[in-house]
């Protein structure tokens, strides 16, 4: 509290004129913020940031857009894990069949699906692996090739492949078939393991209800 020739009643320092007091407070504010952000000085940006990135960050800062339901009571989401029925009769070609049963009335919409399989290779070898997604034809006739991926398997262990929309559609229809064919020289034993502890599986994020339910809302 400025008093003529007086001192600050609590710390005893001679009172400052208002301009120096303001300067002191601004400096204190700067130091306080930099200290709390563990910065020794204010950052200077090395490169400009696009306005779109800035807008996205601001939207995230403000939380979900108004009017959207909080995640907790949006359509129910859950995860399905389907273990493969494996046909390992041919060590150079592994066919995996995954079945998804849809117990919910509203149908299920696959948000994301990934294939997990265990590959066994001799030490210090790599093997290209062709992964083919097969889907039933229009009249449920025999399987047709939907997509194909070429993976470079460089170590023994679990490997993951994110499945695309075709495979996701097959999952939502209840049946997905995947073929794994190691490329290169003929192997003496199977690259893909299929016994219980290493059985390949598909993990799928599912939303109950799918699009038409939203329309009804």
């Amino acid at each position: 509290t400025p008093r003529a020739g007086g001192q600050c009643p609590s710390c005893g320092v001679p009172t400052l004129d208002l301009a120096s007091q303001r300067e002191l407070l601004l400096d204190l504010a700067k130091r306080s913020i930099l200290d709390k952000l563990h910065l020794s000085q204010r950052p200077t940006r090395s490169r400009p940031v696009s306005r779109a990135a800035l807008r996205t960050a601001l939207q995230r800062l403000r939380g979900p857009p108004r009017g959207t339901l909080p995640r907790a009571n949006r359509a129910q989401e859950y995860e399905i894990i389907s273990f493969a029925e494996t046909d390992l009769s041919n060590i150079n070609q592994t066919r995996l069949d995954f079945h998804f049963s849809d117990r919910t009335a509203g149908g299920m919409e696959i948000q994301q699906a990934s294939l997990m399989f265990f590959a066994q290779l001799p030490a210090n070898t790599t093997r290209p692996l062709k992964v083919s997604v097969l889907t039933p034809g229009p009249h449920d006739t025999n399987l047709t090739l939907a997509t194909q991926h070429l993976l470079e398997v460089d170590a023994s262990g679990w490997h993951q492949l994110l499945l695309g929309p075709e495979a996701q559609a097959a999952c939502s229809q209840g049946h997905l078939t995947v073929e794994l064919v190691p490329e290169g020289q003929v192997a003496r034993d199977s690259v893909i393991l299929g016994e219980a502890t290493h059985r390949p599986f598909v993990a799928a994020q599912v939303r109950v209800g799918g699009k038409h339910r939203v329309r009804r809302q």
Binding site: T1, P9, S10, L25, L26, L28, A29, K30, S32, I33, K36, L37, R42, P43, T44, R45, S46, R47, P48, V49, A53, L54, A57, L58, R60, L61
Partner: protein, 116 residues
């Protein structure tokens, strides 16, 4: 808590707003536009010290600690005008690598003051 009015000498909360544009920090701090660095000032005469309901719970513990340690703070018989309610400051800013960072710094904004 009491907000400072001109001429009051009692312990109160003095509002002080730092405009980031004014200090040239608006290029790296995206939001908010400024920082309310309010502070507590004024006197705490004996009849106000430890007034129940204002600051008792928060500062009773501190005072007891001081008594227990016989710290000099209490020998003067006065009490201090201190913050009693504080809020975090939520910042959105660019770091050195132009990443956008969001941080909540706790206890940065003084909402109320009281006599310890």
């Amino acid at each position: 808590g009491i907000d400072c009015q001109s001429g009051s000498r009692m312990c109160c909360r003095q509002e002080f707003f730092v405009d980031f544009r004014e200090i040239g920090w608006h290029d790296w701090i995206i939001q908010p536009e400024g920082y309310a660095m309010n502070f507590c000032t004024g006197q705490c005469p004996l009849h106000v010290a430890g007034m129940p309901g204002i600051a008792a719970s928060f500062h009773t513990a501190v005072l007891n600690l001081l008594k227990a340690n016989a710290a000099a703070g209490t020998t003067g018989g006065g009490s201090c005008c201190v913050p009693t309610i504080r809020h975090p400051l939520s910042l959105l800013y660019y770091d050195r690598d132009s990443n956008i960072v969001k941080t909540d710094i706790p206890d940065m904004v003084v909402e109320a003051c009281g006599c310890s």
